[in-house]
Amino acid sequence: MSENNTMRTYLQPMFEAELEQLVGPDGFSSLEADRLCYAVDYYWVPRVWLDRKMDMPKPHWVVMPRSAEEVAGVLKLANRYKLPVTPWGGGSGSQGGALAANGGILMDLKRLNAIVRLDEQSLTVTAQAGIIQQNLEEWLQARGYSMMHFPASIRCATLGGYLAHRGTGVLSTKYGKIEDMVLSLEVVKPDGQLIRTAPVPRHAAGPDLTQLFVGSEGTLGVITQATMKIHRIPECRQFRAFLFDDLKHGLEAGRRIMTARLDPATIRLYDPVETKKVVKRVLGIEVEGAYMVLAFDGYEEPVRFAMRRAQEICTGLGGKDLGEEPGRHWWDHQLDFYYPPHIMDLPQAFGTMDTVATFDRIEQVYYAMKNAVEAVSPDITFIAHFSHWYDWGCMMYDRFIVNEAPQDAHEAVRLYNRIWTVGIKAALAAGGMINEHHGIGLKLAPFMAEQYGPAFGVLSAIKQVLDPNGIMNPGKLGFPFTATPF
């Protein structure tokens, strides 16, 4: 009997018995059907493996804890057996961050879905990490509040998933990304210790521990609860759409609106290719050029004022004012882009590179990536929209599409990875950063050290201290594959 067999024969039943003690018989599953459904998220590669009938890496156990204490118990157990643990929220990530690539325990957190407290004085809500954002948002709206977090994945992703991967929504230009919305976290460390970060708006008591865990992708612990900012539902929200002859003028209009501090809720600028292909197909708006949707919200008077100033900026740069209706139409149908068949899917090969840069570099990043990616093969289309804007720069939601991925799975993945690599290298060389809100996961892990340089050593050292056995989501965020199952 090999050592592996010995371990499987003796250790696995012991582990499963202990697991059952911790979470109960309905708190975990090792059924093939369950393991299969957790082997695929929104990352393109496992979809290809599944589509081409390839054997796929699956978790050995799916565990569904009901409390932070159960999470802690499972992490202690995993540490003892040195088993990988991969937290799972909604499974809507596009970078493979929630895949149990090394097997082991897949920890589905959706049973932690309680809304714990609404503080109407401070305007905060505290909720468990497994709540689906749409459910939290509807609960808040029924009480006259909103988190103002409206990502494409709102109907499937969890609060914890957004925090772990630095998610963002379509109103982020005014209300911020998830890291701007969070006040404090409850986290179970890899050793099973439960900690809470400071529940205050700001402090000067050393580094911000909340932000250490935001974006950590389950590699430093498991986020089990969060206190988030909320807002009263604004008195009005106004929309307007514009059409620019080219991307350059659209980008300049966006820059002037942001640097004028007009505080738009949304600026969404589609490049000419996406305008022609996607905006037409999904929204039925048939125009050529760079299509921009603009939104302001708040009290009526300042909204009217800001919209008027933004209109002046846009028309002053040659933007054609298409009026309110197309802008509102986009708002009403913003999620349509992400349903089949509008969402990209097999047989296409596709990837969202999602890049961020300062205003002085964003246009060159766009062209550097477009030229590099489209040079890989004439079958590749590069499209982009600019959807999250800051006072000093903006984010580019850039995607590549290959209409027919090669039938051979290995060939398909090779092509996919080649496109990614040239795109990322072009973005980094032009002064961009990968990425703004999709996270690193498996996909971008190899580029973390290059992107950060020596600073990555700081992250690695923190990981080593918090998770010496390397059980937490191994292989993600650029950290090594360490713990392996029996």
């Binding site: 599953s29 059924l31 093939e32 059907a33 369950d34 299969l36 459904c37 957790y38 695929v40 929104y42 979809r47 599944l50 009938k53 799916v62 569904m64 799972w88 909604g90 499974g91 809507s92 589905d108 959706k110 049973r111 879905n113 497994g130 689906i132 749409q134 459910n135 509807e138 609960w139 029924a142 994945s153 109907r155 499937c156 999620l335 349509d336 992400y338 349903y339 089949p340 068949p341 509008h342 969402i343 899917d345 097999l346």
Partner: protein, 376 residues
């Protein structure tokens, strides 16, 4: 365009955009029991020719509530694909044991309508009046009280009636479990009994039966008897003149769109009109209603096969009420489907939820005959 099962699941298998609505997904929080999980498993079956271990059980957990299809921008008919998978499991003798047991219970033990012994029965319809098909195979728990309510209303309004006897009931449950041939045979038998009743109208208190008569019978090639109009009880009640308004109704009243009326039949207005006549300005909509209504877990035979999930779905529905109004007030939930009412009432009783569940017909008869329970 009719999509094949393969096309349906291929297009939607990776899409999780209906997860917040998926009844079993919410109840189980398990990925394989979400719409996306079902699609992945069906896709696996289509490609490999079999389900992975645990796959058949997962396919039978779906409540067939239809929320995934109703909330999908492109209306992917995933519930139909799940039914096709169940039919394959039946044909290939791979049905989980608990499903076979449930099927035997439904098709053999109590599968026929019975006369309510305590009430008068009129046989001489001769092309006029209504025949009541109360639905529900478990008389003492569900069908009998509703049948009695309907008969009392007919008596009160002087409508000639009889209760359908000797006909198969719950054809939809048999079909939902994938026993298609048996369901079609039952449908033919049912239609014969309806034709022989001599009634001008058939009134059913079961939304799932109503949907089956209207949508599934034609799809199965089962012709509905000429000259007989199939009505849902909400439509029939709405046609009765002078339903008395209950101006002193106590507590908070909600109307719940059951799965079949909400999404299959899309019959939203008639029950609301009845609610408004009976409780004018004194009832409210649930936060998600009409086509997006939260499911109570009473469809798709899940309450027979996976009662744990069906119970959780009902509890979730109740929590939608207490979320809005708190649990201090007296809460009433009115639904127009007998199976839904029966299931929800059972769950309220066993879980101690502070909710009284009414079938719309029971509410109407309580109002008309001043039976109490509505006013303070």
């Amino acid at each position: 365009m009719v999509r094949t099962t393969a096309e349906t699941v291929r297009e939607c298998r990776f899409c999780p955009m209906c997860r917040d609505t998926c009844t079993t997904g919410e109840a189980s929080t398990l990925e394989s029991l979400t719409a996306r999980g079902f699609a992945i498993l069906i896709d696996y079956w289509q490609r490999q020719g079999f389900f992975p271990p645990g796959g058949a059980e997962a396919i039978y957990a779906c409540t067939q509530c239809g929320l995934c299809e109703a909330t999908c921008v492109t209306r992917h008919p995933l519930p139909d694909a799940i039914l096709t998978a169940r039919q394959w499991l039946v044909t290939n003798n791979r049905v989980p044991a608990e499903v076979r047991r449930a099927y035997e219970t439904v098709s053999d033990a109590a599968g026929r309508t019975k006369r309510s012994a305590s009430l008068p029965h009129k046989d001489d319809l001769a092309g006029r009046g209504v025949v009541f098909d109360p639905g529900g195979w478990e008389d003492e728990a569900g069908a009998a009280p509703t049948a009695a309510s309907l008969q009392r209303l007919a008596e009160h309004y002087g409508v000639p009636y009889r209760v359908l006897e000797g006909a198969p009931v719950c054809v939809h449950l048999v079909a939902d479990m994938g026993y298609q041939d048996r369901a079609v045979a039952m449908a033919r038998e049912h239609v014969r009994a309806v034709a022989e009743s001599g009634a001008r109208q058939l009134v059913t208190a079961c939304s799932q039966c109503y949907d089956t008569f209207k949508r599934r019978y034609p799809a199965w090639g089962v012709a509905w008897p000429e000259g007989v109009e199939a009505l849902h009880v909400a439509e029939w009640l709405n046609g009765l003149a002078g339903l008395p308004a209950q101006s002193t109704a106590a507590g908070v009243w909600y109307y719940h769109d059951d799965d079949s009326l909400a999404r299959r039949s899309k019959l939203h207005d008639a029950p609301r009109a009845v609610m408004e006549k009976l409780l004018p300005g004194h009832w409210q909509e649930l936060p998600r209603c009409r086509e997006r209504a939260v499911s109570g877990g009473a469809a798709g035979a899940t309450w027979l096969v996976r009662p744990d999930l069906a119970t959780k779905a009902a509890v979730r529905l109740f929590s939608c009420m207490t979320d809005v109004t708190g649990s201090e007030q007296e809460l009433h939930l009115v639904t127009a489907c007998i199976l839904s009412a029966r299931h929800l009432a059972n769950v309220a009783r066993t879980t101690g939820a502070p909710v009284r569940v009414w079938h719309l017909a029971e509410l109407a008869v309580a109002a008309v005959l001043k039976l109490g329970g509505i006013s303070a």
